[in-house]
């Protein structure tokens, strides 16, 4: 077995600026995250980028302090190359390049989606799951097949988290988990557009229709119940299809929306029908974080997927299936 190496990872795709320090054996030594909270409405890429620049230097120092190591101990520097918002991505990439040059260590360009999956597998112990990646900016169903994470289903328009957050904000109760909390007092379900195409889903029509119900004066608790139940049913149903299609026996939930209690309940009930086991990323690693980038960087370092500084461009539309997942055939599944 090769000697243990240590990787520093930087996350900055959207609202979170994160720093993680993880060893190639999977020890998480530090996970420090700063979250930009917009004063109102959605995220403004430029403001978020400013927030990230402001916390950059402090974040690196804090992560090193928590890990209890000096900068020289770092064997590689990883950053989130995409998908994400250009201005935010560039903050992390610039910082990573500077550190890699200064420390004279390899630079590792990580796909943010792949990182969500890998940290999930690390901390839950799932080996070969069908993954539901549900977050503010992403909704997709993926599984490992022939060297890559292949996409089986995804949203055709907006992400599930985006849909529920936008609804909550428009309705004046705030983003998730508030709509789900309110739904607990709901009594009556109103039909909303249920748009499933194969393993793909579409949420924008449903969002519009739910807001219309509110305007018509339907109880907000009932609208919350209708929108959350419909969104979660669509996700569970498409996940069920993917499970049947791939014939896998594990499900892994990653991304911020994996915190939803009701969605988890539904997926557990579905998995029982198929004798599948459900793994859920714990809250600390569910949302965007630095540790996931560091860990995926460590896996890339082990399999030689490093990048030259001159080539280290950010990719706002970086697709998960563009990544060659070489480490999955290194030794079994880890």
């Amino acid at each position: 077995m090769a000697e243990e190496k240590i990787v520093l990872g930087i996350e900055s795709t959207a609202h979170t600026l994160g720093f993680g320090i993880v060893s190639t054996t999977g020890k998480i030594l530090a996970n420090v995250n700063y979250v930009y909270k917009p004063k109102e409405g959605g995220i403004h890429p430029r403001e978020a980028a400013q927030h990230h620049s402001m916390h950059a230097a402090r974040g690196v120092m804090e992560a090193l302090r928590r890990a209890g190591i000096s900068p020289e101990r770092i064997d590689g520097v990883a950053f989130s190359a995409g998908p994400g918002m250009g201005p935010c991505l560039r903050v992390g990439a610039t910082l990573a390049r500077a550190l890699a040059l200064k420390l004279n260590k390899p630079l590792l360009a990580v796909n943010h989606g792949v990182a969500h999956i890998e940290i999930g597998r690390l901390v839950t112990g799932a080996r070969d799951p069908v993954v539901l990646y549900i977050a503010g900016g992403n909704t997709l169903i993926t599984a490992y097949l022939d060297g890559r994470y292949r996409i089986f289903g995804e949203t055709l328009d907006i992400a599930a988290g985006n849909c529920l957050d936008a609804f909550g904000i428009e309705a004046g109760i705030g983003p998730m988990p508030n709509p789900e909390v309110k739904a607990r007092e709901g009594r009556k379900i109103h039909p909303l557009p249920y748009r499933v195409k194969g393993m793909d889903v579409s949420f924008s029509g449903l969002l519009t229709a739910a807001l219309k119900l509110l305007k018509k004066g339907i109880r907000i608790e009932d609208v919350c119940l209708s929108i959350t139940e419909t969104v979660y049913s669509m996700l569970t149903e498409t996940l069920e299809r993917a499970l049947a299609f791939t014939e896998k026996k594990e499900i892994l939930l990653v991304g911020g929306l994996a915190r939803s209690i009701r969605l988890r309940q539904m997926i557990e009930a579905m998995a029982k029908l198929h004798d599948a086991k459900v793994y859920v990323v714990p809250p600390e690693y569910a949302g965007d974080n630095g540790a996931m980038i560091a860990w995926t960087g460590a896996l890339q370092l082990l399999s030689g997927l490093v990048i030259r500084v001159e080539e280290s461009v950010v990719k706002p539309k970086f697709r998960i299936d563009e990544v060659e997942v070489k480490w999955r055939n290194l030794n079994g599944s880890k």
Binding site: A14, G42, I43, R150, P191, S233, D321
Partner: protein, 218 residues
């Protein structure tokens, strides 16, 4: 008339139990949409009923349009069950692992024509994957599984069909994806025309990019 007898359960699919039946000397398929315990009962009932009725209607419409699909025999709405013609053959998904390249090209082209015909009639399949295409012994192609279909001639909807097919090849048969899609599109454009095909392809591209990252509040 005798009661249909169940011979075997063919598949416990993601949403339905598909069984083979024997009835007055014919082989039939029953597709029973089972309740899903994870959905709230009202919502569950509503979804199953809607899809069952819809699938039945579309099967009738396809017959009229001359698109090869199982003939519908009976609809039992109370149990969300459709009885239809049994197509003896194998799923394209399985066939693709075994067939040689030349045969694959031929089948892809034929499938393109069939989907083109269906689209010309304003029918969108909604779950166009290689497991929902059956090849019979003579390699005649049938489309099945219309529960998620819709009636529309909106470019977006048509493009989603092509996108789904392409992605099902990409995720499970990536080695032959390009060759298959090329011949599929040749067949498709023969029916719907070159300009319309290009228009739809542009939309397919747009959909692919869209799903990847949509920022909040935007």
């Amino acid at each position: 008339m005798e009661e249909p007898k169940r011979i075997q359960v063919i598949r416990i699919g993601a949403e339905a139990i598909v069984s083979k039946l024997r009835w007055n000397g014919f082989d039939l398929i029953s597709k029973h949409r089972v309740p899903k315990p994870y959905r709230i009962p009202e919502l569950d009932r509503w979804i199953r009923d809607k899809r069952t009725i819809h699938e039945a209607k579309i099967l009738v419409e396809l017959k009229r349009a001359g698109v090869p699909a199982p003939a519908i025999i009976l609809l039992d709405r109370s149990s969300s069950t459709i009885y239809m013609q049994y197509i003896k053959g194998i799923e394209l998904k399985k066939a693709l692992d075994e067939l040689d390249p030349v045969r694959i090209e031929k089948i892809a082209g034929k499938l393109g024509e069939i989907v083109g015909k269906m689209h010309l009639r304003g029918i969108v399949h909604g779950d166009l994957t290689t497991s929902n295409v059956i090849l019979d012994e003579t390699e005649k192609i049938y489309l099945i599984d219309f529960g998620l279909s819709s009636v529309s001639d909106d470019v977006e909807e048509l493009a989603v069909d092509i996108h789904l097919l392409d992605r099902s090849l990409e995720s499970a048969h990536h080695k032959i994806r390009e060759r298959f899609m090329k011949h599929f599109l040749l067949g498709y454009s023969k029916i719907v025309g070159r300009d319309r095909t290009l228009e739809i392809l542009r939309k397919v591209k747009e959909i692919r990019m869209r799903g990847r990252y949509v920022k909040r509040g935007g």
